[in-house]
Subunit: 346 residues, 2 copies
């Protein structure tokens, strides 16, 4: 499977490392092999080679800060755009890993449509296009006979989408509620241990969990974006941000947290969706709720189903390798589908 | 997909009800349609019709206690064995739902081999064959180009096997630990609420969770059978009961439970496996362990993975409809034609 990567930040590098480390294993276990033929970045330049780029050299060049240090070789082309690379027609799939824009989803949205139009499978870690245009992208993928997958956009590699869409395919999912933002969960967990909101936030920033401007996390917008993706993927809805009621954790005081603990309850920023809408807000959960004991940067989701009742999945919600694993999972699912078609026509 | 069911107890009836209730939905959503062409039972008789049995009539006859009350129609045959039905060559898949025998796996094991030899896909709710002969059955399925699936044998329809084998296909699973027996978990939860072991056991028996002879549950053997299935499926091991150290909960006193609670810990019967062996034993878990808050008859499993760390799945562990849902999930996976057999085969 020949891949174009748009973006080569922490997630792209995490994915490339997995491909490098697991190549032999993936071939043996799943008859799967992938090569990165193109990488486009905003600041490091772009590289393209239809025969496949050298992954260790690519990682070294990225670490050095510029693809200029990647050695020239036969067939290597520099400076192409994603659109140029798609037009060259050698790729099987495009990975959209550029920064999330929850307002317009651009410029990634345009790239996604170009990839699908050209018959490429699409896997995203960028939340924007699927948060804002899930149904349209899915319809376009179906029309072109390719897959559009976005496991990496929700709970990193913890396989939320595959759980809901494949493993629970026989069930109707009627609701979803989860802890979808690790930064706020880390802050709330620190506050349970006695830290003030400000001290917990500063610690989260020092550890790289929260950004200098933490509002995307602490005001609930990151969780809201993920909730939109889930709602539109699981319910076939066409919800937008205006269908969600979003608030964050900045109004929660140390006193609130301690009062809750005295009653054996935990404050969590809960993102909750039904087919008709959703909310993101801080809630007190009893200790018996599977979401209540989810601590630190861990994420979790409870899906309500018709046949099984509640099914809860708990796991990593962030991390470059963990998110890279989600992209690999999407590609393996695409590979299984391709094998499936090959088998059907045989 | 034309199905033969061996056994038509609570699980078989739960599955048939789902097929009846979801037929339209499954066709629309997944282009999937299934008919039950044969049912073999130990005490109600057997029915076969290559054009498909009438599911409501089948359920009524089962409720009445004998298939004699199922109306005769063109093509209906009574009294055939499973082996007879397989030989007739009309079926696509066989569902082995007869009672579990963890000593010899018979007579189900023989039926499973006959089905695979005849090129039928196989889905099991009966734990015996996969607990004792997972690797051989999987190899035989692969040799015949069919699938052997057993989602229903572990945690009912909570999709443990699909999570491990498909959604986490890109990860190496290095360990598994779970609460795999709902009866003992119910008893331990009741004891935390103040009941004695004896009172909790009697309540579990009154509710139908525990049998008159509860030893299969309370001594850990049910959990051990499920652990063998998991170990052999996830690690490609060939473990047998002699590789497991198995103990139960009958040695746990109300005092033990309360002492643990005072230290914010919970007693759970934990089944734990690595590629080289496993244990089933009562353990004290800190409240921060995702398994600790799993209460009542709910089941849970934590898989340790190389790329994601711990991934935990929590959900129903029993119930006729919940287990029937697992059989449907297996058939949908077969329908998708996932060509990459279990990770164990590599």
């Amino acid at each position: 499977m020949r891949l174009i990567l748009i973006g080569f930040g922490a997630v792209g590098r995490g994915f490339a490392e997995i491909l490098r480390d697991k190549a032999k294993d993936l071939r043996a276990k799943h008859d799967f092999a992938a090569s990165i033929i193109g990488v486009v970045t905003a600041t490091r330049g772009s590289l393209y080679c239809a025969d496949g780029l050298d992954i260790p050299a690519l990682l070294s060049a990225a670490k050095a800060g510029s693809f200029a240090s990647y050695s020239a070789s036969a067939g290597l082309r520099r400076g192409l755009s994603g659109s140029d690379m798609i037009k060259l027609g050698a790729a099987d799939a495009l990975l959209e890993l550029s920064p999330t824009n929850l307002k317009t989803a651009q410029p990634a949205l345009e790239t996604c449509y170009r990839a699908l139009d050209a018959g490429l499978h699409l896997a995203l870690a960028n939340k924007g296009p699927v948060a804002l245009h899930y149904a349209d992208l899915q319809a376009q993928a179906a029309a072109r006979g390719v897959q559009m997958r976005c496991e990496a956009t929700v709970m990193a590699g913890t396989p939320t989408m595959q759980l809901a869409q494949e493993a629970l395919a026989g069930c109707q999912i009627t609701g979803a509620r989860g802890i979808l933002n690790g930064t706020t969960n880390y802050i709330l967990t620190q506050m349970e241990s006695g830290a003030s909101y400000q001290a917990a936030l500063e610690k989260a920033q020092a550890l790289g969990y929260a950004e200098a401007d933490p509002s995307g996390d602490v005001d609930g917008w990151d969780a809201a974006g993920k909730l939109l993706i889930l709602a539109n993927a699981l319910f076939g809805s066409r919800l937008t941000m205006s269908d969600l009621q979003v608030s964050g954790i900045s109004g929660i005081s140390a006193d609130d947290i301690h009062l809750a603990r005295e009653q054996n309850q935990h404050y969590k920023l809960v993102a909750q969706a039904s087919p008709s809408g959703g909310t993101v807000k801080a809630q007190r959960l009893p200790a018996t709720d599977p979401l209540a004991s989810v601590a630190g940067t861990t994420n979790a989701i409870t899906l309500e189903t018709d046949l099984l009742g509640a099914v809860t999945l708990i796991g990593a919600g962030a991390g470059s390798r963990e998110t890279g694993a989600a992209l690999l999972a999407d590609l393996l699912a695409i590979h299984r589908g391709a094998c499936n078609q090959a088998g059907a026509s045989a």
